[in-house]
Symmetry: C2
Subunit: 456 residues, 2 copies
């Protein structure tokens, strides 16, 4: 099977218009590298289809000419899932940016796969609604990419991951067929296999998502953010039941003293609590009730476990507190190339896990910097390691081994991508991976969709 790139691009130019078949190296090189710089690929072309029919034409032509494709939205993924590692052609979905009318009684909206999270959230805000998933890359990340990766983010403990937000969708499978499921947004539609749920989290390996029917959630009338200082992660985990009992709880994020100091240096700011405690919880409440009163009661219940705290209920103040959590990623990136793990461990093992990780990393990558932070309410931590070369997986492998030994997950929310392919089977077992491979072969029989991603 010899691939025929020239023939493929000719077909695409006819179908999409020459302006939407980009081979300018300035563009193709930029889109072939992810924003972290950790994943670099190369591509002969970036396609920018504008309709589902055009995507169908692209996939059919790719099958005919033996061309592999990588679907791309905002390219903000963290596991190399949207990067052309072996010269795949990029299918850029960002022209699919339509925002359908908000169905306020149903609290739903249909949007194009290329609409950014921020655009959809702004669109819904006029109706007192928002998207149930939020994450720091909201201005760039697209809904299609978030569906393909089953994105998590800041409010999973409140609203679930992206799969829980997807009511229906339209996608072009690897066969070239366009399928739709419940774009009308029926509350109940139990007709056959759950194609939306299957495509959600499939990382572009089964189909290219083109449109999504999203459920929306009430936009909290008001918010309060508290930054709580606690001596160690043990006290932080122990505080969770009290925090979870708050009706208005939206997020519980963990940062540590070491990461906070790094962010302080990066931002040129004094640390937020002085003296800086070993562990900080960023807690957000949202709703229409007495949020400050609710947070105050929680602090009273937590007693001396919380050694210091800062609270804000104005936009600027809340943004300042959130910045300590959200700037972790960019502070790590400023140190150099970042190896990223994103893991779940049982909450009871969380203190021991946080204590053990830096030493495990040091053992295989002496001198490396390790940052730990994340969504404590979900038992989900991000591990950032700076130091090892791009092709040196030893530090993350040490972290993943610890996770699997504890019965955790090597991917809480980022997905498998290329970064964790060799860990998929170690966590899930060969039978589950075989089943995934069979599903892949069923919906992408020629293996042209994101061939290097997710599956071994």
């Amino acid at each position: 099977m010899v691939s025929d790139l020239a023939g493929f691009l000719t077909t695409c130019r006819t179908a999409l218009g020459a302006a939407h078949v980009v081979t300018d190296p300035d563009v193709t090189d930029a889109q072939a590298t992810d924003w972290t710089g950790r994943w670099r690929g190369s591509t002969p072309a970036v396609l920018r289809p504008g309709s589902t029919d055009e995507v169908r034409t692209v996939v059919h032509a790719a099958r005919r000419h033996h061309i592999a494709l990588v679907a791309q939205g905002g390219n903000t993924g963290l596991v190399g899932g949207s990067v052309p590692h072996a010269g795949e052609v990029i299918v850029d979905l960002r022209r699919f940016d339509e925002l359908g009318p908000v169905d306020a009684p149903a609290a739903q909206v249909t949007v194009g796969a290329g609409a950014t999270l921020a655009a959809v959230a702004d669109h819904a805000a006029a109706h007192g609604l928002t998207v149930g998933v939020d994450l720091a890359a909201r201005d760039t990340a697209t809904i299609g990419g978030m569906v393909a990766t089953n994105a998590g983010g800041l409010h999973v403990l409140r609203h679930g991951s992206m799969r829980a937000q997807v009511v229906g969708l339209e996608a072009v499978l690897g066969t070239g067929d366009a399928v739709t499921a419940n774009l009308a947004g029926l509350v109940k539609d139990n007709t056959g296999y759950d194609l939306p749920g299957l495509l959600c989290g499939s990382e572009g390996t089964l189909g290219i998502v083109t449109r999504v029917r999203l459920r929306l959630v009430p936009r909290p009338a008001a918010r309060v953010v508290g930054l709580l200082g606690l001596p160690t992660v043990t006290e932080a985990v122990a505080a969770l039941p009290v925090l979870r009992s708050l009706d208005s709880l939206q997020a519980v994020e963990l940062i540590l003293d070491s990461g906070t100091q790094l962010v302080a240096g990066h931002l040129g700011l004094p640390v937020p609590l002085d003296p800086l405690p070993g562990c900080l919880l960023l807690v957000e409440l949202g709703g229409a009730g007495d949020l400050l009163g609710e947070l105050g009661s929680a602090l009273e219940l937590l007693g001396q476990a919380v050694t210091d705290s800062a609270v804000a209920d104005d936009d600027a103040g809340m943004a300042r507190l959130w910045r300590w959590r959200e700037a972790h990623s960019e502070a790590a990136a400023a140190l150099g190339l970042v190896h990223k793990a994103d893991v779940t461990v049982p909450l009871s093992d969380m203190p021991a896990f946080v204590a053990a990780v830096p030493a495990r990393v040091q053992a295989v990558a002496p001198g490396a910097t390790t940052l730990l932070y994340g969504h404590l309410g979900d038992g989900n931590l991000h591990v950032n390691v700076v130091g090892p070369a791009a092709d040196d997986d030893s530090a993350l492998d040490a972290v993943f081994q610890l996770v699997v030994d504890l019965g955790g997950s090597v991917s809480a929310e980022h997905g498998i991508g290329v970064a964790k392919r060799h860990w998929l089977e170690r966590q899930r077992g060969s039978a589950a991976v075989d089943a995934m491979g069979a599903i892949k072969a069923a919906l992408d029989p020629d293996g042209i969709l994101n061939p290097g991603v997710l599956l071994p």
Copy 2:
């Protein structure tokens, strides 16, 4: 390919023990017919495996000996999905009745596929928790069957369908491989395709579910039930926004005057509201707040739309009011063989749909009795037709055509089974059905699992 039943049963007797390979016609005949009597099949044997390894052995042997299998739990399905239509061997999962310890902090439990809904709900009740899905067949329906059919029921508007309750599971695929996914109940596990979501609603055609990790929901501290009389379905639909705004809303069920009169005759009771209004809404609130006050405020807001009402907050009184809704199914069955449709239509079309259905049925089945009732809060109605012979689909076909014309779903919650196979493609389109067929071939390559069900 010649099937070798004798060889298959010999293998099964060795693996399961002879006592768990039942060929007594009294048993096999009973389990080959569903409880409604609408679906009758025949089977040479009922297998009762007691472990996942035994199920693996059964499936491997079935592949080797070319034997088709039907998995069966409580056999309370309504679309013929658990009945051996072509002499399939029944795999009865009811020995998988273990109830794992309730993980109260996580609000989760792992149970065997054969545990009944009532058993799991009782088990969870000791911790102030319950299952998010409830339905009238709770004493017989098993968790495995509810997962396989993605059961809906009375509280979908509050907690979602069964798929939303499944955190993880174990199943034996048609390949004979046992797969597990997140039985540890991690809040986030984004490692590959969503096998639990795919198996949920697959109606036994892809794998046999053996164990399920369920999320649990708070068991309301108290409940209040109101039966609200309204002139027509138009007023009932218009009342939904007010009812949905109640924080403690658990269910909104619709019954009509005709069905209520039928139930009154069946139960030998006077009608619950006299004079009987055209339309009745059964509303349940649950929680720790002032439920009677909440319902009272709602009634005030609804004003003269509600012409009469009955309210109960004691167990016996609430059960009496629920009986008017729950007895519809048995009252219909007492009239004769029941053809059951279970459909969603857009709420804006609901009044016209309810008005049109009896005439559509009469046009093709003169003299038939049509009952309409169901989960109005979800836009989901059950249509029961008594009159036509078992093999006469014309009445339901007339109903389904109307549903598809309105952009609704021919299965809101019951599934496709054999009852609606010929409607699947008309609603979902050939591309989606082709994709389902490809997935079926991938996970059940010999087509031995429930071969006559779901797919055309």
